[in-house]
Structure formats: structure tokens, C-alpha cells
Amino acid sequence: MARYEIYVTYKDGIFDPPGATAERALVNLGYEEVERVRIGKYIQLAIEDGDGEDARVKEMCDKLLANPVIEDYRIERVDG
């Protein structure tokens, strides 16, 4: 089995309302050093071993897991 961790985040320049709200809340709590908070998604994926699975996972991200209009993603393979 191949295991992947996928991080989906808004592209730079796309306003992130939950991130901006958490940012203000942290500053209000006294963490005035906070300059920026961006909130994204973390996806764990386990797939059967096979040929070209890295390319298949990238395809899954492009097709469904991320929306290329607003989001970037980073894939990490974690099964060594």
C-alpha cells in the first residue's frame, strides 16, 4: 500500500475568510506577532501499489481534491 499526505491551500491572492478570522482572533488574544494565518485542507490517502501511482495521485488532485482555479496542493509520499 502506498500512503500519501496532501496539503491543499488557497493560492496566493485568494482571500481566505476563515484564515483571516483566526488571524484577527489570535491578535486579539495578545499574539500580536501574528502576521498571517492561512487555513487549508489536509488529506490522507492510501492506495494500492501499482505502476505510476504518483502520477495517478497528481491526477486525483487536479481532477477532484483541489480546484486549480483557487487552490494549490502539495503531495508528500509517506511510505518511504
Binding site: 491572492g13 485568494i14 482571500f15 475568510p17 476563515p18 478570522t21 477532484l64 481534491l65 480546484n67 482555479v69 483557487i70
Partner: protein, 231 residues
């Protein structure tokens, strides 16, 4: 004139849309998301709701429903397609419309009546003169329209912006979009004008008994246009 109203798991405005179309004298029937044919229909409406629980992103899963490949083909052949609220989100996810819809800027689900200004546009679904003010309800958590600078320029140049949130007097400012939508955009169409998406709910304002009739135009304009094309 017969409308296909697509029902996804989690749609909840399909009955209102069918009722509105029939009230105005048109044919309208439900099409299940698992169906694979739009034969016999003249126009397609994707209604509002919470398709697939809004999981992952609003519209992201519905976009791959079996019927959607037919909707894409129908749209590419020039057939009229309108997405209302969640239907708009599905059309954006399917890349039939530019941009995307994010969570409302204030993080609140908004359920209220808004005023909208009609822009100069190429959309087949609406024939009201430029600067007409219409009133319709909105009811959404993710109506914050975004697109990049190049897309916004193209939308303006190609007259794809159909409706913008305005004050009751028709003034549009950066503050008039209750959800933070870029350029106060409430509705856009594709370059050809046959695919249209909007966050407000025209189907809820077709009968004076529930507060207005501004939504009627969205059904009657496309019907008249189709009749002209056929005639």
C-alpha cells in the same frame, strides 16, 4: 418549452424551480443525477441545495455525477443551462463558468433579500435593460465569487457579468456584496451566453403572494429566445 431540473442528492430547491416554470406556463420535469439523457428538454436548470453535503468543496462531487457529462455536452452544443446557488457552484466546478465561489467573507450563512443591478451582458437567460434593479433572495454560505485579474478583465470585455449586488438605488460599491464577492458579482455567463450561474434565487420570486415577481424574467426570457430560434 420544457425545462430539465436536475436533482442531486442534497438538492433542495428543485420543487420550487419546477413550480416556478409550471406557474409560468412551461413544461418542467425532474432529471435524476444518475440519469444519462436530456432528450426532449430545451433547457437545463441546476437548482440550489447542498449536493453531496457540500463535502470537499461545494459542487465538487456533483460535477462528476453521470448526468453532468450530458449537461456539459448540452452546453457545448449551445443549449441553455442555468445554475442557481449550488447549481452555480457546480457549473463553476465543472469549468463551464469562470471563477469559483468561496466561503462568505463574514463567515455567516446569509439568508436575506438583496437588490441587484443588471449589467450590459450577452446572457441568453435575461433580457432586462442595463441598469434595471431587481430584488431576489439569497440563501448561501459560499457565494463569495472570486477570479483572478485576467479573468475579471475578460469578463468585463466579453460582457459576461450579468448581475451585481447593489444598493436599492442601483449603486454598486465594494461594500454592496453581502458575501464579499469580487467586483460585487452575483451572476456570470460564459462567453457564448448560453450558460449562466447566479447566487440569488429567481424561482422564489415568481408569485406576488411570496413577495415579488422579478424572478419571472429568468424563465420567460430564455423561453422567448428559444421560441425565436425555433421559429
Amino acid at each position: 418549452m420544457r425545462f430539465a431540473v436536475v436533482v442531486f442528492p442534497g438538492s433542495n430547491c428543485e420543487q420550487d424551480v419546477v413550480h416556478a416554470a409550471r406557474l409560468l406556463g412551461f413544461g418542467a420535469d425532474y432529471v435524476w443525477h444518475g440519469d444519462d439523457s436530456l432528450d426532449g428538454f430545451d433547457a437545463v436548470i441546476l437548482p440550489g441545495g447542498f449536493s453531496y453535503g457540500d463535502y470537499l468543496r461545494c459542487g465538487a462531487v456533483a460535477r462528476f455525477s453521470p448526468i453532468m457529462s450530458e449537461v456539459v455536452r448540452f452546453a457545448q452544443d449551445g443549449g441553455p443551462v442555468m445554475g442557481i446557488c449550488n447549481g452555480f457552484q457546480i457549473l463553476a466546478e465543472a469549468h463551464l463558468l469562470p471563477g469559483a465561489l468561496l466561503r462568505n467573507e463574514g463567515l455567516k450563512f446569509i439568508c436575506e433579500e438583496v437588490t441587484l443591478k443588471v449589467e450590459g451582458h450577452v446572457c441568453d437567460w435575461l433580457d432586462l435593460p442595463v441598469d434595471t434593479i431587481v430584488r431576489m433572495p439569497i440563501n448561501h454560505n459560499e457565494g463569495n465569487y472570486v477570479c483572478d485579474d485576467d479573468t475579471l478583465d475578460a469578463l468585463r470585455d466579453d460582457r459576461q457579468i450579468v448581475l451585481r449586488y447593489s444598493t436599492p438605488d442601483g449603486e454598486v460599491t465594494p461594500c454592496t456584496a453581502p458575501n464579499g464577492a469580487r467586483y460585487s458579482i452575483a451572476g456570470v455567463c460564459n462567453e457564448a451566453g448560453n450558460v449562466f450561474g447566479l447566487m440569488p434565487h429567481p424561482e422564489r420570486v415568481v408569485d406576488p403572494v411570496v413577495g415579488g415577481t422579478d424572478g419571472r424574467h429568468f424563465f420567460t426570457a430564455i423561453a422567448e429566445r428559444m421560441a425565436q430560434v425555433a421559429g
